[in-house]
Subunit: 310 residues, 2 copies
């Protein structure tokens, strides 16, 4: 049982337990989130995405340090699809805590995937809500990679930051306009590298083609995270969009869309769990999937069989 | 209605229609896949992943060209989470078809995501099965990014190729051991760039730490895709793993795990669709998500309400 009084007072151990509970989908998780939810809405949620090698971790760490130096409480939630294989996440967290300085005002947590169908997005959004309710002023959600789930997670933030590095513009894939439309703020990190200006020009011309429904003109910030350069500018750019999005109806429209996405994800997870929790389902799934592997049965017929017996 | 006779004869228009059908989750898609499934298992499925900017598209195009020149039929399925925003996928397909040369022996298709909860993975795996059944000798599945879904998709291939580029090794994220365990074959593309040797050394030391249950020692291939260098070596490395994995029990264990994952994904998609297809559910979801956005209700309570009325 999680002590919600301690949780709302920001006690690190209670926070860690609460996040583990939503991550594992433990029995009490739904009850916990019902209590957590009304306490949310105070923190500013910053989503940061970009491809591996863009230097996101350094950037996030430096941004967190800046917030911390201002006397704010900062939570960091990292989503890394590769972590379940290797325990790499835990190691990473330790390295990063040493960088930022471990105290009550900073909380870092990597989310493990455990291969749970779609559950990662829900658990991540829940973890952010927990930190929000626990009194953190800023919550940074960092996603490694630009996968579908990762994009959805970043879209739930108040401000989404897309991190690029010089020299990636030469690949058609990297300059897909889609990624552009996710970013409220763009960062060209490692901006001391060759090609930074070219990347900026390309980005500017791509952004001039994009049509945002809210008419926001996303700023481009140049940083060298390893040398702490440009972090102040980044924080200003983030705040400027946060102020902007709070005005007008766009904010509620966005929140409505996010709520719908969360609701569908949670519903889907629950529906599957209901089926899987029935006695014998696991054995049946094993049997059916073996038949599929041996090409005795096709997946669609197998699913129809499971559904018919519901 | 899709003409399965034409589909199995490899007629491009029927293939395109069949893939659109599974992509949109059209009514006939399940029936189609029941017919398609028994015809699969002949093609060699190659999954290729890596981060944006690694030059995957060029590499895939050159590999496809090599197979084509050998007189084989090649299908390419691309998964790009950013495409729905911008129609970038269609543009990309056109550029690539011009490169490889459009004829009956090459088929390229980008999968759109449309924000459908988890449906992309299922649709992609179905598209691969369709190309397999349509008589393609090689099917290359290319995923942009390294998200959770993308990793799962690549794992369904017979051979998984992870593409790296020099100079990414300086980031903790890029060298997460997890990504390493996905790859049956590794490619260092843009190998004429500075740092290629360092990346190779780092990769070798990471691979020496990894413990594969099948004792396979993943080869590292250096390529310069834009200059068609190393593509022959890559094809040999892919074939060597394909030959290897066909021996022994590992193949069935792997196929069993893939089948289970497919079955769960399909089941989840169907369960949600059953709920959503009921009259009034859509309006109700809109109402509930607006209440969540306004913090009148929490998502868990909302889902419990929907489930109770089932």
């Amino acid at each position: 049982m999680i002590d919600t009084e301690k949780l709302f007072a920001g006690e690190p151990r209670s926070i860690a337990r609460a996040i583990s509970s939503v991550e594992s989908g433990a029995a009490g998780a739904a009850e916990l989130m019902k209590v957590v939810f009304p306490k949310t809405g105070r923190a500013m949620i910053v989503g940061i995405t970009g491809s591996p090698g863009a230097g996101k971790s350094s950037l996030v760490d430096k941004l967190a340090l800046l917030y911390k130096d201002r006397g704010e409480k900062v939570g960091i939630v990292c989503v890394d699809p590769s972590s379940p294989f290797s325990g790499g996440a835990i190691l990473g967290d330790r390295i990063r805590m040493a960088t930022i300085g471990l105290d009550k005002n900073v909380f870092i947590r990597s989310m493990a995937t455990r291969g749970n169908m779609g559950g990662l997005s829900r658990a991540t959004v829940d973890a952010v809500a927990i930190l929000d309710a626990a009194g953190f002023d800023k919550v940074i959600v960092e996603t490694v990679g630009v996968g579908q789930d990762e994009v959805e997670i970043v879209k739930t933030a108040d401000v989404s930051v897309v991190v690029l590095v010089p020299g990636m513009g030469d690949d058609i894939q990297a300059i897909k306009a889609g990624i552009m439309e996710i970013g409220d703020v763009f960062v060209i990190n490692k901006a001391d590298r060759e090609g930074a200006l070219r990347t900026q020009k390309e980005l500017e011309s791509l952004l001039s083609l994009a049509h945002r429904p809210d008419f926001w003109d996303p700023p481009i910030v140049k940083t060298v995270a390893t040398e702490s350069k440009g972090i102040e500018d980044l924080s200003k750019a983030i705040e400027s969009y946060n102020d902007f999005q709070k005005q007008g109806d766009a904010s509620l429209t966005r929140k409505h869309a996010i709520a719908r996405w969360r609701l569908l994800g949670l519903l889907q997870e629950r529906l599957l769990a209901e089926v899987l929790n029935k006695n014998g389902t696991n054995e049946r799934l094993n049997k059916l999937s073996l038949e599929i592997a041996k090409k005795i049965k096709d997946p669609y017929t197998a699913v129809a069989e499971i559904l018919k017996s519901e």
